[in-house]
C-alpha cells in the first residue's frame, strides 16, 4: 500500500523531537485559546505567524495546524463547564454539555467530547491521506477558468454556510474582494486605492486585517457588553464515561465524524457548520428528542466529533487545490507563503516530506490532545477562572507585537486599529467578518484567473461553461444556492444559527 508507506514517511518527519515539541506547543496553545473566551484560533494564528519566521516550514505548519484543531478540544471544555463557547464551533455543545455539568456529569461530558474528537481526528487524518492524491491529480488539470469557478464555488459556499443574513454575507464577501484588490495590480502595475501611502502599495497585510477584525474588534465588543463567567466545576465527576454512555454515544460519534468530514471538505465549511448540522441530525434521529438540552450525551458526542473532523478535513482543499476553504485556512496560506511554499497540488509532489509530515502530525496532535485533556483537566479549569480584565490586555499586547513584527511597520499597527473599529461596527450590525476575510484572500487570485481565462479565450465569457470541469464547479455552486432558497432549508438554517 503506497498510502501507508507515504504516511510512514510522514510519521518519520513528524516524529522528530523538535517537531513533536512544536506539535505539543501548538495543541497546548490551541486548547488554551479554545478554553479562554474572546480569542479565537484566527486571531491566535495571525498573532503567531511572525513567530514562525525562524522555524523550519514543517515545524511552523505543524504548530499552526495544532492551534486550529486544538481549539476545538478546548472550546468544548469552556462550553461544558462555563456554558460559554470558547470557540464558535462549540456553541451547540453548551446546550447539552452544560446541562450534563449541572447534573454533576461534567466529567463524562468532557470525556466523551475528548474521545469522540480523537476518533473523528483519526478518521479525518486517514481521509486526508486517501483523498490527497486523486484530488491533487485533478487539480493539475485546472486552468484559469477552473480556478476562477472553484473560487466562485468557495465564496458561494462560504456565504451559504455563514451565520445570519445571506445578503449581508454576500455583501461582506464582495467587500472583502474589493479590499483585497488594494495595492499594485499584477497585470498592469497600476497602484489601486493606495492614495500615495507606500505601505499600501502591497495592499493591506493579511495579519493586519485579521487581527483588526478578529482580535481588536472582539475585545472592544466584549468590553462593551461585559463578559460574565461562572465556572461550574464544583464536582467534575469521573472523566471516563460509563458503559451506558459509550452505548449511547458511539453511533452519534460515527455520524458526527462522517458529517464533519464531509462538510469540512466543502469550501466555506469547516468546524462551525459541522457541529450545528450534527446536533440537528441527532435531535431528529432521537427516540425522545425532549431529552436534548437536558443533558443528552448524544448532544455532546455528535457535534464534538463533527467539529473536530471538519476542522481537519478543511485542510484538504488547501493542500490539494491551494484554495483556503475558511478563514483559518486562509491564514495557513499566509503561513506557507512566508516560508516560500505556494499552496496547491504541486506541494505533494515537490515537498512530500512537508505534506505527509503535516498530515501525520495531525494524528499525533490528536493523541496529545486526549492526553492533555483527560488527565490534565484540572489545570484548564483553573485557567477558566482567569478574569477577563487580566486577559484582554495580554491579548492586545500579543496582537500589537504580532502585527508590528511582520514588517516592523508602525503604520500597519495603526491600520489594524481601523480594521478593529470596522469589525466592531460589523459585529453591531450583525455582519459576520469571516466571509470578508475569505474574500480578501481570494480577491486578487480571482481577478488574476478571471482576466487570464478571458484573455486565453479571446474575450469569450462562455469559456467558464464550455469547459467541463469549470461547468461542474459552477453547477455545484448553483445547486448550493438553489438548495438554500428552498423554504424548508431556509427555515432550518435560521433556527440552527439562532442559538448564539
Amino acid at each position: 500500500m503506497e498510502l501507508f508507506s507515504q504516511l510512514g514517511h510522514g510519521f518519520e518527519a513528524a516524529l522528530t523531537l523538535s517537531n513533536l515539541g512544536y506539535c505539543l506547543l501548538g495543541v497546548t496553545l490551541g486548547t488554551l485559546v479554545g478554553v479562554l473566551p474572546g480569542l479565537g484560533p484566527v486571531a491566535t494564528i495571525a498573532m503567531l505567524l511572525p513567530a514562525t519566521y525562524g522555524q523550519p516550514p514543517l515545524s511552523a505548519l505543524i504548530m499552526l495546524a495544532g492551534i486550529y484543531y486544538g481549539a476545538q478540544y478546548g472550546g468544548s471544555t469552556s462550553a461544558i463547564l462555563v456554558n460559554l463557547p470558547g470557540e464558535s464551533s462549540s456553541v451547540v455543545t453548551c446546550l447539552d454539555g452544560h446541562a450534563m455539568a449541572r447534573k454533576g456529569r461534567a466529567g463524562a461530558a468532557l470525556g466523551i467530547a475528548a474521545l469522540g474528537s480523537f476518533f473523528a481526528g483519526t478518521v479525518a487524518t486517514l481521509l486526508i491521506a486517501a483523498l490527497a492524491e486523486p484530488l491533487s491529480n485533478l487539480a493539475l488539470k485546472f486552468g484559469p477558468a477552473e480556478y476562477f469557478s472553484l473560487m466562485v464555488l468557495g465564496l458561494v459556499a462560504a456565504v451559504v454556510l455563514a451565520n445570519g443574513s445571506l445578503t449581508k454575507a454576500v455583501a461582506m464577501t464582495v467587500l472583502g474582494l474589493l479590499l483585497g484588490l488594494i495595492g499594485t495590480d499584477v497585470n498592469s502595475g497600476t497602484e489601486r486605492y493606495s492614495f500615495g501611502i507606500p505601505e499600501l502599495s502591497d495592499g493591506f497585510g493579511f495579519v493586519v486585517v485579521s487581527m483588526g477584525l478578529f482580535g481588536i474588534a472582539e475585545i472592544i465588543h466584549n468590553l462593551e457588553k461585559g463578559i460574565e463567567r461562572n465556572v461550574f466545576a464544583t464536582s467534575v465527576g469521573g472523566i471516563w464515561p460509563t458503559r451506558e454512555d459509550f452505548k449511547a454515544a458511539w453511533k452519534p460519534v460515527l455520524r458526527g465524524t462522517f458529517l464533519g468530514s464531509l462538510l469540512g471538505v466543502l469550501p466555506g465549511g469547516g468546524a462551525i457548520l459541522s457541529s450545528f448540522a450534527a446536533y440537528t441530525i441527532e435531535k431528529k434521529l432521537a427516540k425522545d428528542p425532549s431529552r436534548f438540552g437536558q443533558g443528552a450525551i448524544e448532544g455532546v458526542a455528535a457535534p464534538e466529533s463533527a467539529n473536530n473532523a471538519g476542522a481537519q478535513t478543511s485542510f484538504i482543499p488547501l493542500l490539494t487545490l491551494g484554495i483556503p476553504p475558511n478563514a483559518v485556512m486562509a491564514l495557513m496560506v499566509g503561513a506557507m507563503m512566508i516560508h516560500g511554499i505556494v499552496p496547491g497540488p504541486q506541494v505533494m509532489t515537490e515537498k512530500p516530506e512537508l505534506f505527509w509530515g503535516l498530515i501525520a502530525s495531525m494524528w499525533i496532535g490528536n493523541l496529545l490532545l486526549v492526553l492533555l485533556n483527560m488527565p490534565l483537566i484540572g489545570i484548564w479549569i483553573r485557567l477558566l477562572r482567569v478574569p477577563y480584565h487580566v486577559l484582554y490586555p495580554a491579548i492586545l499586547v500579543f496582537c500589537c507585537i504580532g502585527i508590528y513584527s511582520v514588517n516592523q511597520s508602525t503604520i500597519e499597527v495603526a491600520f489594524a486599529v481601523g480594521f478593529g473599529l470596522l469589525g466592531w461596527m460589523f459585529i453591531k450590525l450583525r455582519c459576520e467578518p469571516a466571509p470578508l476575510l475569505l474574500g480578501f484572500v481570494l480577491g486578487p487570485l480571482m481577478e488574476e484567473n478571471l482576466r487570464r481565462a478571458l484573455l486565453l479565450a479571446h474575450g469569450d465569457p462562455t469559456v467558464f461553461v464550455t469547459r467541463g470541469l469549470s461547468l461542474a464547479l459552477l453547477l455545484i455552486a448553483l445547486a448550493l444556492i438553489v438548495i438554500l432558497v428552498l423554504p424548508s432549508v431556509r427555515q432550518t438554517r435560521e433556527v440552527a444559527f439562532h442559538e448564539d
Partner: protein, 158 residues
C-alpha cells in the same frame, strides 16, 4: 406569530454602509483604465464589484423595511443601542500607544503602555493588579519575542 412592521435599524445601517463602500470603490476605480472584457484594465474588476456591493447595500437596506425574519424576531430588539464609546476609544488608543512607543522607547515600555491604557477600558480598574500584569507581560514579551525568537525589537529606551 404576529408580524411586526418596523424598521430594522441594524439592517438599515448595514445596507447604507455597504452602499457607501460600494460607490466609493467604484468611483475611485474609474480613475484607472477600464479596458475591455477581453483585456481587462486595472479598473474593470473593481468597478464591477463596487457596483455589485452598492446593489447589495440597497437590497440589505430596503430589507430593513420588511417584516422581520424568524431569526430576528427571536433575537429580540432590532434597533441599535447607542454604542458605549469608552472601550472602543481606549482600546484603540492603547494600540496606537504601542505604535508610537515601540520604536522610540522600546518593547518593554510599549507593552506597559498597552496594559495601562487598555485597562482603563475596564469599569473597575485596580491599579495594583494593572501594575502587576504590566510587569509580567513586559518581561514575558521581552523574554519571548526579543530574546527567545530574536525578533529585531528595540527593547529599552537606552
Amino acid at each position: 406569530m404576529s408580524v411586526r412592521r418596523r424598521l430594522d435599524h441594524r439592517d438599515g445601517a448595514a445596507g447604507l454602509a455597504f452602499f457607501v463602500f460600494g460607490i466609493a470603490f467604484a468611483v475611485l476605480a474609474l480613475n484607472y483604465p477600464l479596458g475591455t472584457t477581453m483585456r481587462m484594465g486595472p479598473g474593470y474588476f473593481p468597478v464591477v464589484l463596487g457596483l455589485i456591493l452598492a446593489g447589495l447595500g440597497l437590497v440589505v437596506g430596503l430589507g430593513a423595511f420588511r417584516s422581520q425574519s424568524v431569526a430576528d424576531q427571536g433575537a429580540g430588539n432590532a434597533s441599535l443601542a447607542i454604542p458605549k464609546l469608552r472601550p472602543a476609544l481606549l482600546i484603540s488608543a492603547s494600540v496606537l500607544v504601542f505604535a508610537a512607543a515601540i520604536e522610540s522607547v522600546g518593547l518593554a515600555l510599549a507593552t506597559f503602555g498597552v496594559v495601562a491604557v487598555s485597562s482603563l477600558a475596564n469599569s473597575n480598574v485596580r491599579w495594583r493588579s494593572v501594575a502587576a500584569s504590566g510587569l509580567v507581560l513586559a518581561s514575558a514579551s521581552v523574554a519571548i519575542f526579543a530574546y527567545g525568537l530574536r525578533l529585531p525589537f528595540r527593547v529599552t529606551p537606552f
